[in-house]
C-alpha cells in the first residue's frame, strides 16, 4: 500500500497536523486550543494559496 499525494494535499495534511499540535501546546483551555488550531490551519491555507498565486504570477 502506498500513497501518492500531490503538493496541494500534502500541504493540507501538513497544515492539519501542525495546527493540531500548535493548538494543543500553545493555549490553556480546550476552547482556546480549538480556536487557535483552526486559526493556524486557516493561516496555513491562506499562505498556501497566496504563495501559490505569487509563484504563478512570477513564473507566468
Amino acid at each position: 500500500m502506498s500513497l501518492n499525494l500531490n503538493h496541494f494535499w500534502m500541504s493540507i495534511l501538513f497544515a492539519l497536523f501542525s495546527s493540531v499540535i500548535l493548538g494543543i501546546v500553545t493555549k490553556q483551555t480546550d476552547r482556546e486550543r480549538i480556536r487557535y488550531g483552526a486559526y493556524c490551519f486557516g493561516c496555513f491555507v491562506v499562505a498556501l494559496f497566496g504563495i501559490g498565486w505569487v509563484m504563478r504570477l512570477l513564473h507566468g
Partner: protein, 140 residues
C-alpha cells in the same frame, strides 16, 4: 500580600521528574502528557504524530542518513533530517527495525514523504517541550 500566581507556580514542586517525562514523551509521542494526567491531549498528540509519520512512510519517504560525503550544507541537512527522524522516538526505531529503508529516488512523492516523517519528529519535539513545562508547573 498574597504571592502572585507566577511565584506560586515557580515555588511549587514539579508534578513528576521533568526529564523522565521528556524521555517518555520522546519515546512514545503523547505519553508524557498521559503520564501527567492529560489523557485527551496525550491521545491527540499520539494520533497526530503517528498519522503524520505513517503518511510519510506510505509515501515511501526515505529516512535521512548521516555519514555521506558532501559539503557542510549537505551534512547539516543530513544531520538535521536525521535528528528530526529520530525525534519520533519508537516510531522511528520500530520502522528501522522492521527494515524500512526505501531508496532515495527522484520524485515529489518520496520527497514529500521524507519531509512528513521529519515533520512528525518536530511536532513531537513541541509536545515534549509542552510536557516539560507542565511537569515543572510552568503551565497547566
Amino acid at each position: 500580600m498574597p504571592a502572585t500566581t507566577t511565584e506560586t507556580v515557580a515555588a511549587a514542586p514539579p508534578l513528576r521528574s521533568p526529564w523522565v517525562t521528556v524521555l517518555v514523551a520522546w519515546l512514545v509521542p503523547g505519553a508524557g502528557h498521559l503520564l501527567l494526567g492529560r489523557r485527551v491531549r496525550g491521545a491527540v498528540i499520539f494520533a497526530t504524530v503517528l498519522l503524520c509519520f505513517a503518511v510519510g512512510l506510505l509515501m515511501r519517504g526515505p529516512l535521512f542518513e548521516v555519514g555521506g560525503a558532501g559539503d557542510v550544507l549537505s551534512r547539516l541537512i543530513e544531520w538535521g533530517g536525521h535528528l528530526g527522524d529520530m525525534a519520533s522516538g519508537l516510531l522511528y526505531f520500530v520502522a528501522v527495525w522492521m527494515g524500512y529503508a526505501p531508496p532515495d529516488r527522484a520524485g515529489h512523492t518520496a520527497d514529500y514523504g521524507s519531509k512528513l516523517i521529519v515533520a512528525a519528529g518536530l511536532l513531537n519535539i513541541l509536545a515534549m517541550v509542552d510536557a516539560y513545562e507542565i511537569a515543572t508547573r510552568q503551565k497547566d
